[in-house]
C-alpha cells in the first residue's frame, strides 16, 4: 500500500463531507422555496454515505478491509411540508394555505457543523501523512 493510496482515502472523506455541506447549503437556501420544477415546495435532501472498496479488488487482505467513503445517493426527505395560512400568496391553495419546505434550520446548522468537523478531521489525517512522507525523505537525505 502506497502513501498516495492512503492519501486517496482521506481525499474521499474530504469529498464526501464537502458534498454533505453542499446539500445542507441547498436545504438552507431553499428553506422558503414554495415552487419547484417538479411541482410543490422544495423537499430537503440528505446524502447517504457508503463504505467503498479501495483499489480494484486485487489488493492484499489488509487492503480489502480498509474502506474509503463514497456518496451512494442523495435521498429526498419525505416529511410533510409545513402549511401556513397566507391567502394572498401566489402559491396558496383554495383554502388559502401555502406549503413550505420542511426545513429545520437548527437541524441544518448541526449538519453543517458536523460536516465541517468531519472535513477538518480528514484534513488532519492528510497533514499527518505528509509529515510521515517528509520524515521518510529525510532518511535518504542525510
Amino acid at each position: 500500500m502506497k502513501f498516495s493510496d492512503i492519501m486517496d482515502i482521506a481525499a474521499s472523506g474530504l469529498r464526501a463531507q464537502r458534498t454533505r455541506m453542499t446539500v445542507t447549503a441547498s436545504n438552507i437556501a431553499n428553506a422558503q422555496t414554495t415552487r419547484t420544477r417538479e411541482g410543490g415546495p422544495y423537499q430537503r435532501r440528505d446524502p447517504v454515505f457508503e463504505a467503498d472498496r479501495i483499489g480494484e479488488g486485487f489488493g492484499s487482505a489488509l487492503e480489502r478491509k480498509i474502506h474509503s467513503v463514497d456518496v451512494a445517493r442523495i435521498v429526498v426527505d419525505s416529511r410533510d411540508p409545513i402549511t401556513r395560512f397566507l391567502p394572498d400568496h401566489p402559491d396558496a391553495n383554495e383554502q388559502g394555505y401555502v406549503a413550505f419546505p420542511n426545513v429545520n434550520l437548527v437541524e441544518e446548522q448541526a449538519n453543517l457543523v458536523g460536516a465541517s468537523r468531519g472535513y477538518q478531521a480528514n484534513l488532519l489525517v492528510m497533514q499527518k501523512l505528509r509529515s510521515m512522507t517528509e520524515a521518510l525523505l529525510r532518511v535518504g537525505q542525510q
Binding site: 500500500m1 502513501f3 493510496d5 492512503i6 482515502i9 482521506a10 474521499s12 472523506g13 464526501a16 463531507q17 454533505r20 447517504v48 454515505f49 457508503e50 463504505a51 479501495i54 492484499s60 487482505a61 489488509l62 487492503e63 478491509k65 480498509i66 474502506h67 474509503s68 467513503v69 458536523g114 468537523r117 468531519g118 478531521a121 480528514n122 488532519l124 489525517v125 499527518k128 501523512l129 509529515s131 510521515m132 520524515a135 521518510l136 529525510r138 532518511v139 537525505q141 542525510q142
Partner: protein, 125 residues
C-alpha cells in the same frame, strides 16, 4: 556483539511498515466517521507477529508466509457497532489522537533510521 546495522534496520523497517499500514486503517475510519453502520477497524503490532509466535509451518507455497511481520497479512480487529442512531462506531476524537500518535511513532522511527544509516556510512568511511 550483534551488529547495529542490518538487525536494527530490519526491526525498524518492520515497525515502520506497521505504522504506515495502521495509519491507512485509521484514515479509513476517519473517512467513514459518518457512514451508517460502519464499525471501526484497527490492527495491532501483536497481530502481525502472531504467526511467528504460533510457530506455524508453511507446508504449501500458496500459504501466507507466517511471522513475516508483514502488515499486509495483519488480522484486522473490528470494533463494536455504535450507539448513535446511525449505528456508526467511530469516535472521531479518538481516531485523531490515534492518527497523531501513530504518525509520531513513524516519524521517530524514521529519524532513528536516518541516524543509523549515517552511522553505517561513517563506519564505512
Amino acid at each position: 556483539m550483534s551488529s547495529f546495522g542490518p538487525d536494527a534496520m530490519g526491526a525498524l523497517q518492520v515497525a515502520m511498515r506497521f505504522r504506515k499500514a495502521r495509519e491507512a486503517v485509521i484514515a479509513g475510519n476517519v473517512a467513514n466517521a459518518d457512514t451508517p453502520g460502519y464499525r471501526r477497524r484497527d490492527i495491532s503490532f501483536e497481530g502481525i507477529l502472531e504467526g511467528a509466535r504460533a510457530g506455524l509451518a508453511r507446508t504449501h507455497a500458496g500459504h501466507l508466509p507466517n511471522g513475516s511481520g508483514n502488515p499486509e497479512h495483519a488480522r484486522v480487529e473490528m470494533g463494536p457497532r455504535g450507539t448513535r442512531p446511525d449505528a456508526n462506531g467511530v469516535d472521531l476524537d479518538q481516531e485523531l489522537v490515534t492518527a497523531h500518535r501513530n504518525a509520531s511513532a513513524f516519524v521517530d522511527q524514521a529519524n532513528v533510521l536516518a541516524r543509523l544509516s549515517a552511522l553505517v556510512r561513517t563506519a564505512m568511511g
